[in-house]
Symmetry: C2
């Protein structure tokens, strides 16, 4: 089996590659070759796959994905994207990469399908940003696509293409509407959603973190580990059970910032909790107000996708996966 | 005021142009220039506008719409599209015209906006084909975009672009999800929906028509006259009341084929009714089965869009607009 990951230097892409390399296979089938592609050259993980190819490729460059698809990978994971803030700041870049890059990749597959009947499984990283307020406390399963950002618009268009290309038989696509991934490892970034992770990750490493919203704010989460699980399941599941609606709300944990802080106290103690400083930020308050507090994901759960049940579980996954199993006590 | 109609040789585009030319204005403002564009050269209607320009232009050709937008029309009606059957038969043509043409037109406006702050009203002809089964007997207002055709996919993508370009301030867009337009004038065509019009139009001209489905089939309709009304209202309404969801389910009449036949009998008599021949067609039965029987359009009704209340009204509009006021009795 050959596997291609596009966006393999990113947070989720890297973890997905690590997991596949560690397992040496996908859904019980051995993976002979893993191709990792990103605009930044990805690093090959250790593990059981001898043939790992890493390439620096800009998916939005003309013809860039055709040679990757000419290798006829059995599974294509498409995670390359610029994120919400950058797509909002640079309109043309967002459309070029998030829409143009996705369409080029899908068309490369369609062309190869036309030549040889090639029909891979394609797993596309979409986002709950396809939903925008106003909505009820819980976004229902079949809610309208009402993005309030260019990023969400580009993801929604990717979903529509995925569904149509799948219906046409060019490939076998599954779109995953990912919850906000938390705890995001690495340095704090400027994404408006960054604080959801910062207020857990930083105190667990003995550092201060800023909380810009009230602790009553409710949102929808999954851990990086759960996200990797979504991709693996989507790559190997029986897609005939999905039906024509190929884009699925992933299960998530609906929780408040207060729930996060409770989990932090339970796992890392009051000293860690005291490192979280409340500094209200009107801009972030307003942005976060447009985000879904909860999303129905019965279809995905029935199809076998699973996620954490509590923030404590999410925090413990972070400690195991990122901190070698233990929290650094603040001085 | 300058008005541009793209797709002006089509059924609705032509009627819209005729109506604007007859009125000599739009929303009480005089129209000094009307530009009519289509891949087939449109014919200028008579009326009160001295300056009517007709051009044969393929909107999907590179750079085709830039010169039209350089004229800075105040209102842009975008109706150019290839229809469902053709977009399904020719994948690349459908994407090139229905998606590529729309995006090029929107980008031409965006570029002119960037140069000069130009910000026209844009009215986009979408379709209830953005909704695909399964759904309840009545598609709710905020139902998911779940097209089951490439045409519906292309319209849904056009809607998403319209909403994002409007949110960004490039133009002031309104997308109209048109019901099936009935009675469609002209010769019978091969659209799967054609029979809905054929079974009224042909008998009223003394000709036979084939009914390929059961008379219990329910669907969602508006007359060509109502459709023109939608476009005029969308061009002149106060858009600040719409909010961020710029694509609106147009009001329609939910009615059965039986309701159509009853209206035909009432208006044209039993002799006309006897010209309708039941010849079941499994392919058409299956296609029509995926179409919405009814659609909630409270938002559009609240915003002032109106439609017929009965099929008799729809039939009488056809007789007035197409048959000079009277039905030709069958021999
Ligand atoms: N992390 C989240 O909370 C979250 C939530 C919803 C959806 N998603 C989506 O999941 C996917 C992965 O998320 P992530 O958190 O790993 O993001 P990330 O930013 O860490 O990774 C995205 C990767 O795409 C790469 N990329 C950007 N432009 C590219 C181009 N032109 N060509 C090739 N590669 C390019 C980037 O270099 C980066 O490595 C993305 O598509 C993202 O939009 C993430
Ligand atoms: N009639 C309906 O029942 C209905 C229902 C829903 C939506 N719509 C939409 O409303 C719009 C008008 O519908 P209509 O019934 O008048 O359709 P129509 O087919 O009569 O008119 C469409 C026009 O677009 C023109 N066109 C096609 N490709 C073009 C190109 N590349 N460049 C320029 N012009 C091009 C055609 O020549 C045609 O004159 C269309 O966008 C259609 O998809 C119609």
């Amino acid at each position: 089996m050959k596997v291609l990951i596009v966006g393999a230097a990113g947070m989720i892409g890297r973890k997905l590659a690590e997991r596949i390399a560690a397992d040496g296979g996908l859904g019980g089938q051995p993976v002979e070759q893993l191709v990792m592609v990103d605009v930044v050259e990805p690093k090959a993980p250790g593990g059981k796959i001898a043939d790992i190819v890493c390439k620096a490729i800009d998916v939005s460059a003309s013809g860039a994905t055709e040679p990757l698809i000419a290798e006829r990978p059995d599974v294509v994971f498409h995670l390359a994207a610029i994120v919400s803030g950058e797509a909002e700041a640079d309109f043309e870049k967002g459309y070029r990469i998030n829409l143009g890059g996705t369409r080029d990749l899908f068309d490369a597959i369609r062309h190869e399908h036309g030549r040889s009947g090639y029909k891979p499984r394609v797993v596309f990283a979409s986002s709950i940003a396809v939903f925008g307020a106003p909505f009820d406390a819980r976004v229902p399963e079949d809610f309208a696509l009402t993005p309030l950002t260019s990023y969400g618009t580009q993801k929604a268009i990717g979903e529509l293409l995925l569904a149509d290309y799948t219906r046409r038989g060019f490939f076998d696509g599954v779109g995953l509407r990912l919850p906000t991934i938390c705890v995001r490892p690495g340095a704090p970034n400027k994404a408006a959603s960054g604080f959801f992770s910062n207020i857990l990750r930083e105190p667990m490493s003995g550092k201060e973190a800023v909380l810009p919203v009230a602790d009553t704010v409710r949102h929808y989460f999954a851990s990086p580990r759960a996200a990797v699980g979504f991709f693996l399941h989507a790559a190997t599941m029986d897609t005939s059970a999905i039906g024509p609606r190929r884009n699925l709300n992933m299960p998530g944990l609906s929780a408040t910032v207060g729930d996060e802080l409770d989990a932090l106290r339970t796992v890392a103690g009051d000293a860690a909790l005291s490192l979280v400083k409340q500094v209200p930020d009107e801009t972030i308050i307003r942005i976060v107000d447009g985000w879904a507090p909860d999303i129905e994901a019965k279809r995905a759960r029935d199809l076998g996708f699973t996620v954490e049940d509590s923030f404590e579980e999410i925090v413990r996954a972070h400690i195991e996966d990122e901190l070698g199993g233990s929290v650094r006590a603040p001085a």
